[in-house]
């Protein structure tokens, strides 16, 4: 057990515990805040695993933008501040499938890697990652920008009733 392992274990425990609270809590707003904790812990794991740039992008986009969007949605759908009783469906099938998927994958990966050790590589800084993105992966990068534009336009069309209604059946 090296210091890296201790860090990985601690951050992983925080991430899994917070994720457990996200899917079990009765408070909608608290679920969003536990999600912040979970995503932050995962960003810490990225940092330990030498993926610096991804860690900061995770903090910026996930903890910053995505969680704020989710909390906006919580507010706009008038979720109650206190505990809600109608958030869940029957839990047994979910428990079977979710637990089966999680534990099955965990057993598979433990069996594949045992207790082997690898040396950590050089840090994935913005310079090294940028070389790769704009070298080998430049075409997917550009396609992804088109996807973002399409998602932007799609979100606008879906959320504006005047555009969506004429398209869906107003003046056919």
């Amino acid at each position: 057990m090296t210091g890296v392992d201790v860090l990985l274990l601690a951050l992983g425990a925080v991430a899994v515990g917070a994720a457990l609270l996200v899917v079990t809590t009765d408070h909608v707003v608290r679920a969003g805040l536990y999600l912040v904790l979970c995503l932050g812990a995962v960003a810490g794991l990225y940092l330990v695993l030498t993926a610096e740039l991804v860690a900061w992008v995770q903090v910026l986009i996930y903890v910053g933008a995505v969680v704020v969007l989710l909390l906006f949605a919580v507010m706009l759908t008038r979720a109650p501040i206190g505990a809600s009783t109608d958030l869940n469906r029957p839990g047994l099938p979910a428990l079977l499938i979710g637990g089966g998927a999680g534990l099955g994958l965990a057993a598979l990966l433990v069996d594949a890697y045992r207790w082997s050790t690898v040396p950590l590589p050089a840090a994935g800084t913005a310079e090294r990652l940028g070389e790769q993105i704009f070298g080998a992966w430049v075409l997917p990068f550009e396609v992804l920008s088109v996807l973002l534009l399409a998602a932007l336009i799609g979100a606008i069309v879906v959320s504006r009733p005047d555009i969506g209604a004429t398209g869906a059946g107003g003046r056919r």
Binding site: T2, D5, L8, G12, A15, V16, V22, V28, A31, L35, C38, L39, L45, L49, A51, L53, V54, V57, I61, Y62, V66, L69, L70, A73, L76, T77, D86, L87, N88, L95, G98, A101, G102, L105, A106, L108, L109, V110, Y113, S116, T117, V118, P119, L120, P121, G124, Q132, I133, A136, L148, A151, G154, A155, I156, V158, S159, P161, A165, A168, R172
Partner: protein, 129 residues
């Protein structure tokens, strides 16, 4: 020179892999368990993060021909997740505006119910079809 290049730090890749598997299982559980669409999207985010964690760990573990491919893929997935959450929340808000609920198991999937919703939204009492 970077210190890790001269004295590489050892780690056990099993730990982050198992954390990722557990996160994925919890996300699956949440997707199947939750009725509230916003909470369902949060569980989907957990699953996406588990996949990202696997990619980053593989990037640190496997020596590939292209260095840092896993990290590049994780960045791409983060972008796709941002797009997904934007469109998903637009749909959830539109659903709330039409139905005043975000419970996914109260969604009408039959045709007649969907047409009734469209007509009500357009202010047209008669079905256009």
């Amino acid at each position: 020179m970077h210190p890790t290049l001269m004295h590489p730090t050892l780690m056990h890749p099993t730990i982050p892999y198992v954390v990722a598997a557990l996160l994925f299982g919890l996300g699956t559980y949440g997707v199947l368990r939750r009725r509230n669409a916003v909470l369902l999207l949060m569980a989907v985010e957990l699953m996406l993060n588990a996949v990202n964690l696997v990619l980053i760990t593989a990037d640190a573990t496997v020596r590939a021909a292209l260095p840092h491919s896993g990290a590049v893929f994780a960045l791409f997935i983060i972008v796709i997740a941002a797009a997904e959450i934007g469109v998903g929340l637009a749909l959830v808000l539109q659903l709330y505006r039409l139905r005043a609920t975000v419970a996914v198991d109260e969604l009408p999937l039959a045709d007649d119910a969907a047409n009734a919703g469209d007509a009500a939204n357009a202010g047209d009492p008669v079905g256009v079809d």
